[in-house]
């Protein structure tokens, strides 16, 4: 690994030079930047919407019945912190701070959110007999009532793929501080 001023930008090693086209493309910083802007922007938008109506978000997450009845504090903490966590992740991604950790966190959240939304949609499908792709409800995602097929297979899948791009990327271009680990400054 090169050191000193050369470390300020992404400098491929001998092995990296021989890597796939994807890595070479990643080295431009463009794929990561695009992914970060799209995912970050959407999470800021969706998270901010939810911060404006904590009661509404509390009611929505209660409907998933994931939190036991006897744990109202946990439900309340989720309701007041999750939206702000989304906003924070969005800001960090756009600014290029702690990119991989933030992207990893978003991947985890997206997988979880997608799973519980799918479970609820299946419940509705089984109880009402409604065609699955006609099911629509407010999933608590910050965008109001949405068609579940679009939500699961387009929006969340797209966000997940873009988050994986940000997670996989090694490019430190267009980042304020790519990693929180001391000594690994971004260029």
């Amino acid at each position: 690994m090169s050191s000193g001023p050369e470390a300020m930008s992404y400098t491929p090693t001998r092995e990296a030079r021989q890597s796939s086209l994807l890595r070479q493309w990643d080295a431009t910083g463009v794929p990561s930047l695009l992914a970060r802007l799209i995912v970050g922007g959407l999470f800021i938008y969706m998270g901010f919407n939810k911060t404006q109506d904590p009661v509404g978000f509390l009611k929505l997450i209660r409907e998933y019945q994931m939190i036991p009845q006897g744990m109202p504090v946990l439900l309340n903490v989720l309701a007041v912190t999750l939206p702000w966590l989304e906003v924070l992740c969005g800001v960090l991604l756009i600014a290029g701070v702690a990119v991989r950790g933030t992207a990893g966190l978003l991947v985890t959240m997206l997988v979880g959110f997608t799973a519980i939304i799918a479970v609820r949609a299946v419940d509705i499908y089984q109880s009402t007999g409604q065609a699955f792709c006609q099911i629509a409800f407010d999933c608590g995602c910050g965008t109001g009532v949405v068609n579940i097929c679009f939500k699961l297979f387009v929006e969340n899948t797209g966000l997940l793929l873009l988050s994986l791009v940000a997670l996989w990327s090694r490019s430190r271009k267009f980042c304020l501080r790519w990693s929180l680990v001391p000594g690994r400054r971004a260029g």
Partner: protein, 231 residues
């Protein structure tokens, strides 16, 4: 592996930061929630002693509980009442049934409307309470109804509770349908000592009120800005 550990630790650091920011923002926000409060309370006693029928001055019998019983259980088969054929009637309605099961009295629309037109409503002997948030309340409420948003109950309880304690009957409502806010507001009043025999939930809510062509009052209570007609 080392890189993976770094990514995980970074993610955890972001999570902790988000948690802190969220709690701080909640503490500072006028819309903030009380983290320790249970906003979806249950009554301590599902079938309190002496729970009466949901009756009206006309003597209409509550079809779900023809005999008041402290030991009544949810397994008791509800009876259909031919006297209440309205759309939001108590005829084996799951909402009515649920409210009765948890120990709350209910009233059908006809009885609510009759109470509202009774002169005793003017002196708060019959008290109407709207359990919805500011936006919904301001958009339209039963004329003369007081607001009691149980998610921010401290803002309203000092005014509403004394009135409720002195009223002959208290009717709590929200939007109707699947709206649960009236249930929780009623439980809050019960938990603060309101006599359960004088407390009723109007499950049809404002939706039923509007559907029957009755006027709603917009803005603050007593504004006089009435808007009638079915939706």
């Amino acid at each position: 592996m080392r890189e993976a550990v770094r990514v995980v630790l970074e993610g955890l650091a972001v999570s902790v930061a988000g948690l802190g920011i969220g709690l701080a923002a909640n503490a500072m926000s006028p819309k903030g929630l009380k983290v320790s409060k249970n906003y979806f309370p249950k009554l301590a006693l599902a079938h309190p002693v002496g729970q009466p029928k949901a009756t009206m001055p006309s003597g209409t019998q509550d079809p779900l509980h023809p005999e008041a019983s402290a030991s009544a259980h949810a397994s008791q088969e509800p009876q259909v009442s031919p006297a209440n054929p309205s759309a939001d009637s108590t005829q084996v309605d799951p909402v009515h049934q649920h409210l009765h099961e948890i120990g709350l009295n209910t009233l059908p629309h006809e009885e609510v409307a009759q109470m509202h037109s009774d002169p005793r409503t003017q002196v708060n002997a019959f008290l109407f309470i709207d359990a919805r948030d500011d936006a919904h309340y301001q958009a339209g409420h039963i004329p003369g109804a007081y607001q009691l948003d149980h998610y921010y109950i401290d803002r309203y309880i000092d005014q509403v509770l004394p009135l409720a304690m002195n009223a002959e009957k208290v009717v709590v409502y929200c939007n109707g349908g699947e709206c649960e806010d009236s249930e929780f507001a009623a439980i809050e009043l019960r938990n603060r000592g309101l006599d359960p025999s004088r407390l009723f939930v109007y499950p049809g809510g404002l939706e039923a009120w509007r559907q029957h062509g009755l006027a709603v009052e917009r803005g603050a209570r007593g504004s006089g800005d009435l808007n009638g007609g079915a939706q």
